[in-house]
C-alpha cells in the first residue's frame, strides 16, 4: 500500500499552540495540511503513518487524503532520512557549473548513491531539481540551508563542519 | 473486353479419333509402369508436411509449467465451439495470473482449422502432425488437459512419425 515503513503507532505535536496558530490562519482546516505536515516533519524527521492520522484528525479529512497530499510533494519524506539531507541541485544551470561532480564527490566520500543514507544515519544524498538559485550554481541544500557557489573543496569543508 | 474465340476445326485424323484413343491408352499404360505413390499405412506412416493440422497439444515451458493462461481466446476463435476451459488462479506464484483448471477439446466437433493456434497469445495450444487418433467411443475423443500435455510430451522432440519412417518402405507394394 504505502511506501511507509514506520512502526510508530501514535504521534502528537509537542507544541499544540503552534497547531492552533496554524489553524487560525486559514479560512478552512484542510488548508492547514501542508503547514501541519511541515511542522510534524520538523518534529519527527519524516511523515509517518501516525503523523498522517493525526493531521487527518486535525484537518477533519480522511488519512488517505492526507497521504495523497503528502506523497505528492518531494519535501515530505515518507521514510526515515539521515540527519543531514544533502540535496544537490542537478538542473541545467547547476549541471553546467559542475553539480554532477559534486554528486560523484559525495558518493565517493560516503559511499552512498542518490537516495541512499549512510549506515550511521548521518547523511542522505539526494539529487533534486532546480532549487531556484541558478545565479550561484552549483547549489547544495543541506536540510534548510542553501550553500551556493560550491566547489569540491568548499563542500568538503562544509561537510567537515557537520561532523 | 471481348475475347475472340476461334473454334478448332478437327482434321481428318482427329475425326477418326483413333490416334487420340491410342494416345489415351498410352497415357494409362505409361502410368501402369510408373513408381507407385501408395504408402503402406499402418506399417509405414505418412509424414505430414510442415504446418499440417492434426491433434492438438498444450505446450509447456522448459521448466515444465503449462504455457496456457486460460484466456479463452482459442475458445472464442473456435468456429465449432469445441474448446472448453475452466480458468482459475494458478497453483504457483510467478506473475502469471491465470491458469487452466481444466482444458477440454471435443475432437469430434473440432474441424482442425487451426484458429485456436492463431488466436493463442502464449503459443500454448498447437496443432501437431498427429492424424491417426481414432477411438471407438465418443468419450474417447474428448481430450482433456492431461491428454493434451501428453501429446506435447510425445511430439515435442521431433516429428512424431519420423521414427517410424525408418522402419518401413513407404512405397513398397
Amino acid at each position: 500500500m504505502s511506501d511507509n515503513n514506520s512502526h510508530k503507532d501514535s504521534f502528537e505535536y509537542v507544541n499544540p499552540d503552534l497547531v492552533d496558530n496554524i489553524l487560525s490562519q486559514y479560512p478552512d482546516k484542510r488548508s492547514a495540511t501542508l503547514p501541519l505536515l511541515h511542522l510534524a516533519q520538523t518534529q519527527e524527521g519524516y511523515i509517518s503513518n501516525a503523523v498522517v492520522d493525526t493531521v487527518a484528525q486535525i484537518t477533519e479529512t480522511h488519512p488517505a487524503e492526507v497521504m495523497d497530499c503528502a506523497s505528492f510533494y518531494t519535501m515530505f519524506y515518507l521514510r526515515v532520512q539521515g540527519r543531514y539531507i544533502l540535496q544537490v541541485c542537478q538542473t541545467l544551470s547547476c549541471s553546467l557549473n559542475g553539480a554532477d561532480a559534486l554528486v560523484d564527490h559525495i558518493t565517493d566520500r560516503y559511499g552512498i548513491g542518490p537516495g541512499e543514507t549512510t549506515p550511521d544515519g548521518k547523511f542522505t544524498l539526494m539529487k533534486v531539481e532546480c532549487l531556484g538559485s541558478c545565479g550561484t550554481a552549483p547549489v547544495v541544500q543541506i536540510n534548510n540551508d542553501y550553500h551556493e557557489g560550491l566547489s569540491k573543496e568548499i563542500l568538503d569543508e562544509l561537510l567537515e563542519s557537520l561532523q | 473486353m471481348a475475347t475472340i474465340v476461334t473454334s478448332y476445326e478437327p482434321t481428318f485424323w482427329d475425326k477418326l479419333y483413333f490416334p487420340a484413343l491410342l494416345r489415351g491408352l498410352m497415357v494409362t499404360l505409361r502410368h501402369f509402369f510408373q513408381k507407385k505413390v501408395t504408402i503402406q499405412y499402418p506399417d509405414a506412416k505418412y509424414i505430414p508436411p510442415e504446418g499440417y493440422r492434426g491433434l492438438h497439444r498444450l505446450n509447456k515451458y522448459p521448466d515444465g509449467r503449462i504455457r496456457c493462461v486460460a484466456c479463452e481466446m482459442c475458445a472464442a476463435a473456435c468456429p465449432s465451439g469445441c474448446i472448453h476451459i475452466v480458468p482459475g488462479a494458478p497453483p504457483w506464484e510467478d506473475g502469471k495470473e491465470r491458469y487452466p483448471v481444466s482444458f477440454d477439446i471435443d475432437l469430434l466437433r473440432c474441424i482442425f482449422c487451426g484458429f485456436c493456434e492463431m488466436a493463442c497469445p502464449e503459443q500454448a495450444i498447437e496443432l501437431t502432425e498427429i492424424y491417426d487418433f481414432s477411438n471407438s467411443s465418443r468419450e474417447g475423443l474428448w481430450i482433456n488437459k492431461d491428454g493434451l500435455l501428453e501429446v506435447y510430451e510425445m511430439t515435442k522432440d521431433e516429428n512424431y512419425y519420423m521414427k517410424k519412417s525408418h522402419e518401413a518402405d513407404l512405397t513398397s507394394g
Binding site: Y26, L34, P35, F76, T91, L92, S93, L96, C130, C134 | -
Partner: protein, 432 residues
C-alpha cells in the same frame, strides 16, 4: 553597462534593506497610503492603464486579471502571491524576498485592496526556508506597523497575510495547482473553466500574482502609469528583473527595462561567456522557453513580443547561457528529466510523454539511438504540447501549460541542434 536606474532593486545593496525601518526611510508604504484614499476600481483602472504584464511567465496583464473578479459576490475573495519560484534559471523572486520584502508586501496590500480581499496568501516554495522565516518576521513587523491587520493605516480596510510554505512541487507554480496545494491537496492543476477569478481558492474568487508583478505596484501608484509605460516597449513596459546564469562570468539578477537586447545582458551585464568561450545557445525565459541559437540570441530584444516573434517567450526572464562546450543532447536530457520529475501525472500526455522523452533521450545519450528517434521526439513533443501553429498561440493538450513547457524547450533543442543529436546517433550506428 546600462545607465538604467534600477527601480525594484534600487536599494538592494544597502545594509538592512529588508527591514521595515529602512523601507519606510526610502519612501516605502507611501503608495499604500495613496491607494487607501482611492476607490478599488480606480486602482484597477490605473494598473490597467500602466499595461503591467504578469512577471511570472505567462505575461497576462495584471489589471485585466483583477477586473475578472466579480465585485458583487457574497463569497470572500483571495489574493495569492505566487512565490513558488521554481523555474530553472529563475531566481529573481528569491532576491526580492530577501532584499525588499516590504515592497512585495506593499504591492500585495495594494492588490488586495484593489480586488477587495481580506485575506492574502504568500505561497512560498518549501525550499526557501530562510526566506520563509524572513517573511514571517516582515509580516509581523507590518502587523506592528499597522500595515496589516484591522483598519490598515487608519482606513476601514482589513487585511491578513498568511505565509504558506509549499513542499517541493514545480507544478504548484501554476496558479490552479497552487490553489489546490494551498487547499491542502496535492498540487494537481484544475481544469478551466471555472477560472480562479471566479472559483479559485475554496471556490472563491482568487487572484494569483507573481512576486515581481506585485513589487511593481507601489512604483506604479507612486509615479503613475505613464511613467511606467515609458520604460521599454509600450505593449509590455516596465522594469524587469533578468536572471542570468549558466556559462557566464558574473551570473546574477539585473534590473533593466523591458526590451533590452539579450546581447547586452549576456556580454555587458553578466560579463560575457566564461573562459572566453563562444556562445552556443541561450534560454531566454527559463527552461520552459524555446532555446535560442547564438545567432538568434545576439539579435533579439528581451520583451514579450520580440521573443514571441522568434517563437520563444520571455517567461520568467531566466536567461541560461550555454557555451560551445556544452553537450546539447545532455542539456536537453537534463531539461527533459526535470520535467519528467516535476510532471504532476494528472494528464495522460504529460505523465506518459515526459517519461518517454527521458527514456528516448537517455537511450540516445547511452548510444542506442536510431535515426527515427529525432522525428519521434518532435512528434511526442507535439503530442504533449501540441505545437501546431506558433502564430496562433499555444495549443496545449493538457490541463495546465506544463505540457507546452516541456514541449517548447525539448522541441527547440532538437530542431535547432539536430546535428548534435545526429552525431550521437551516427557515432553509435557506425560502431554497431
Amino acid at each position: 553597462m546600462s545607465d538604467f536606474q534600477p527601480i525594484l532593486t534600487e536599494h538592494i545593496h544597502q545594509k538592512e534593506c529588508h527591514t521595515l525601518s529602512f523601507y519606510i526611510s526610502v519612501g516605502g508604504y507611501s503608495a499604500l497610503e495613496k491607494v487607501l484614499a482611492m476607490s478599488a476600481d480606480d486602482v484597477i483602472e490605473l494598473v490597467k492603464a500602466s499595461n503591467l504584464r504578469g512577471r511570472g511567465g505567462a505575461g497576462f496583464p495584471a489589471g485585466v486579471k483583477w477586473s475578472f473578479i466579480p465585485q458583487d459576490g457574497e463569497k470572500p475573495k483571495y489574493l495569492i502571491n505566487n512565490a513558488d519560484e521554481s523555474e530553472p534559471g529563475t531566481f529573481k523572486d528569491r532576491l526580492l524576498i530577501n532584499k525588499t520584502p516590504h515592497q512585495i508586501l506593499e504591492g500585495m496590500i495594494i492588490a488586495s485592496y484593489a480586488i477587495g480581499c481580506n485575506t492574502a496568501f504568500i505561497y512560498i516554495r518549501g525550499e526557501f526556508f530562510k526566506e520563509y522565516q524572513l517573511l514571517e518576521k516582515v509580516v509581523a513587523e507590518a502587523y506592528e506597523g499597522n500595515f496589516l491587520g484591522k483598519g490598515i493605516l487608519g482606513s476601514d480596510y482589513d487585511l491578513d497575510v498568511v505565509i504558506h510554505r509549499g513542499a517541493g512541487a514545480y507544478i504548484c507554480g501554476e496558479e490552479t495547482g497552487l490553489i489546490e496545494s494551498l487547499e491542502g491537496k496535492r498540487g494537481w492543476p484544475r481544469i478551466k473553466p471555472p477560472f480562479p477569478a471566479i472559483e479559485g481558492y475554496l471556490k472563491c474568487p482568487t487572484v494569483v500574482n507573481n512576486v515581481e508583478t506585485l513589487s511593481n505596484l507601489p512604483h506604479i501608484i507612486n509615479r503613475g502609469p505613464e511613467w511606467f509605460k515609458s520604460i521599454g516597449p509600450e505593449k509590455g513596459p516596465g522594469p524587469k528583473l533578468f536572471c542570468v546564469s549558466g556559462n557566464v562570468n558574473s551570473p546574477g539578477v539585473f534590473e533593466e527595462p523591458m526590451g533590452i537586447p539579450l546581447k547586452d545582458l549576456i556580454f555587458d551585464l553578466a560579463g560575457g561567456i566564461k573562459d572566453g568561450n563562444e556562445l552556443k545557445a541561450v534560454f531566454p525565459g527559463g527552461s520552459s522557453s524555446a532555446i535560442l541559437t547564438a545567432e538568434e540570441a545576439l539579435s533579439v530584444n528581451m520583451d514579450f513580443d520580440s521573443l514571441a516573434e522568434i517563437k520563444t517567450m520571455l517567461g520568467s526572464a531566466g536567461v541560461i547561457v550555454m557555451d560551445e562546450k556544452v553537450d546539447m543532447v545532455q542539456a536537453c536530457l537534463n531539461i527533459a528529466r526535470f520535467y519528467a520529475h516535476e510532471s504532476c501525472g494528472q494528464c495522460t500526455p504529460c505523465r506518459e510523454g515526459t517519461a518517454w522523452l527521458v527514456k528516448i533521450l537517455t537511450r540516445i545519450t547511452s548510444g542506442d539511438g536510431n535515426s527515427n528517434d529525432i522525428d519521434m521526439i518532435l512528434e511526442i513533443t507535439d503530442n504533449i504540447g501540441g505545437l501546431i501553429d506558433f502564430s496562433k498561440g499555444s495549443f496545449g493538450k493538457t490541463i495546465c501549460p506544463f505540457g507546452e513547457a516541456v514541449a517548447w524547450p525539448v522541441r527547440s533543442f532538437v530542431e535547432k541542434f539536430e546535428n548534435n543529436f545526429r552525431q550521437y546517433i551516427s557515432q553509435e550506428e557506425s560502431v554497431t
